[in-house]
């Protein structure tokens, strides 16, 4: 029994120390997400894309990927699913959402999973590259979250008379929602988030309808 106690104690002590390390890095992830979040909010008010793009590369992508590099250098794929997933996933999703948001504003298209994977990998060192994991669910969560953010942007764009942007958002969201309907989601939080998207898409359609009956758009 003594040996069992020693083994179990060591196992949990190791888990606790790993968790502390991961939490310290999560603070870094939160910091860069918050800093970029402020610029994102600024865009909702002034629609200055250049400033948003600059802050995206300098305040989000670089520091976020640097922290991911630290994490994945220390921990491999098994450790990711064992220790990191529930701590890092939420931050990762917000990063994906921000990337999809900025990319849409730049190019009016969806930043694909493989392109996003390449973007992150380009910032990682060699040891981290072999360990890096980008779960597909994180990308899908990011897609769902960007729908909500773009709905909000559509509202603000209409307020500021950027009707072309509102139309582009509507087309993009319809396309994105149609694409996401191809996926058979399992019964979890992601499915519930997806189910709520139809109200966001409906809201944007309603905005366009309002604009068209008032003949503000062709």
């Amino acid at each position: 029994m003594d040996q069992l106690i020693t083994e179990v104690s060591e196992h949990f002590a190791k888990k606790e120390s790993i968790k502390t390390l991961i939490k310290d890095q999560c603070v870094e992830l939160d910091t860069c997400l918050m800093q970029f979040g402020q610029h994102l909010q600024q865009y909702h008010m002034d629609f200055q894309l250049n400033e948003l793009e600059t802050s995206f590369s300098s305040k989000l992508v670089s520091p976020f990927c640097k922290t991911l590099d630290v994490l994945f250098t220390k921990f491999d794929q098994a450790a990711f699913y064992e220790h990191m997933q529930h701590l890092v996933s939420d931050r990762f999703r917000r990063f994906v959402m921000a990337t999809l948001f900025v990319h849409f504003l730049k190019d009016r298209e969806l930043f694909s999973y493989s392109s996003l994977l390449s973007l992150i990998k380009s910032h990682l060192s060699k040891p981290a590259l072999s360990h890096f994991v980008f779960p597909i669910e994180v990308y899908l969560w990011g897609c769902c979250m960007v729908v909500s953010e773009l709905t909000r942007l559509a509202l603000n764009a209409t307020t500021h008379k950027h009707y072309a942007l509102t139309q582009d958002i509507q087309k993009f969201l319809s396309s994105l929602y149609a694409g996401m309907k191809l996926i058979t989601f399992k019964n979890d939080g992601l499915r519930k988030k997806f189910d709520s998207l139809k109200y966001d898409v409906k809201q944007v359609d309603h905005i366009l309808y309002d604009l068209s009956i008032r003949q503000l758009i062709p």
Binding site: M1, Q3, L4, I5, E7, V8, S9, H11, F12, A13, K15, E16, K19, D76, Q77, A78, F80, Y81, E82, E109, L110, S112, Y113, V133, I136, E137, Y139, L140, S174, S175, L176, Y177, A178, G179, M180, K181, L182, I183, T184, F185, K186
Partner: protein
């Protein structure tokens, strides 16, 4: 006026599903197949890059979900078979060794069938170590139940707690520390039932032995708590199991006390009669 016919232009918006099928509604009697479907998986005519992106993603996502479902089903099978083993072990009374032999065979069968299939599901997804942790939430409850059955069998056969090394020797598999601890924590409830059943049949020795074993185990749990393992914040379930363990131990202690009191009363009654 004609509705959409085959000569109409394809719709701009790819989300208008069913438009391809609805072109034939006026051409003949309506059939089941001609009705537009609520959800259509593939529309090959769509040139939207987002559509093709999500077609690829959906294949990958379904592969993951199917593997998780298979792991979950196998875990339920393991749980069911392990519960049968535990029920059969409750009938053991020290002399009917066939019960132990049958339990051993049943446990080995669980390993060779269900656990082996579980390993195959993980290997089919990806032959890498991370798949164990990827699917762990889906199959951990099955392994815990298996550990409970195995530890009860080991206790009835050898009178001791099975170690993780002995699990690996018996079953040929490595069980994660989390599943091991959760499994042996559940042993208290089963041993409490066993002690109660043995006491009802007049087997005081089994009752007292089970109680002593549970008391020793709980004392070691206290050590884990003191040394910080069970304050591991991520696992509220450990503290819950510890509480349940204590309750089962206390029930066994109460049984033993009542037994001793009854025996003492009988001895007293006999001595009074003798006088």
């Amino acid at each position: 006026s004609q509705q959409s016919s085959s000569s109409s232009a394809p719709p701009q918006n790819p989300s208008s599903v069913g438009s391809k099928r609805s072109t034939s509604t006026r051409d003949g009697p309506k059939s089941h197949d001609s009705r537009p479907h609520k959800k259509q998986k593939t529309i090959s005519s769509s040139t939207d890059p987002i559509f093709s992106l999500f077609q690829g993603l959906s294949v990958e996502y379904e592969r993951l979900v199917n593997s998780e479902e298979s792991a979950y089903k196998l875990s339920r099978d393991i749980t069911r078979e392990s519960k049968k083993v535990i029920s059969s072990l409750q009938r053991y009374h020290g002399k009917n060794h066939t019960v132990l032999d049958q339990a051993e065979n049943a446990l080995k069968k669980i390993v060779s069938t269900h656990i082996a299939q579980l390993q195959k599901v993980m290997d089919d997804y990806d032959k890498a170590e991370y798949t164990y942790f990827l699917f762990h939430k889906k199959f951990s409850f099955g392994l815990e139940e298996f550990m409970e059955g195995l530890s009860m069998y080991w206790y009835l056969k050898n009178g001791s707690l099975i170690s993780s090394k002995e699990v690996a020797d018996f079953a040929g598999i490595h069980i994660d520390t989390h599943d091991y601890i959760q499994g042996i924590s559940d042993l208290a409830g089963e041993l409490m039932r066993y002690a109660t059943a043995r006491m009802a049949r007049g087997d005081k020795e089994s009752c007292f032995n089970a109680t002593a074993f549970l008391q020793q185990m709980y004392q070691n749990y206290m050590r884990l708590s003191v040394e910080g393992a069970l304050t591991y914040k991520g696992k509220e379930s450990y503290r819950f199991k510890m509480r349940a363990f204590l309750q089962s131990t206390m029930k066994c202690e109460k049984l033993c006390a009542e037994l001793m009191a009854r025996d003492a009363e009988k001895v007293e009654a006999k001595s009074v009669e003798a006088k």
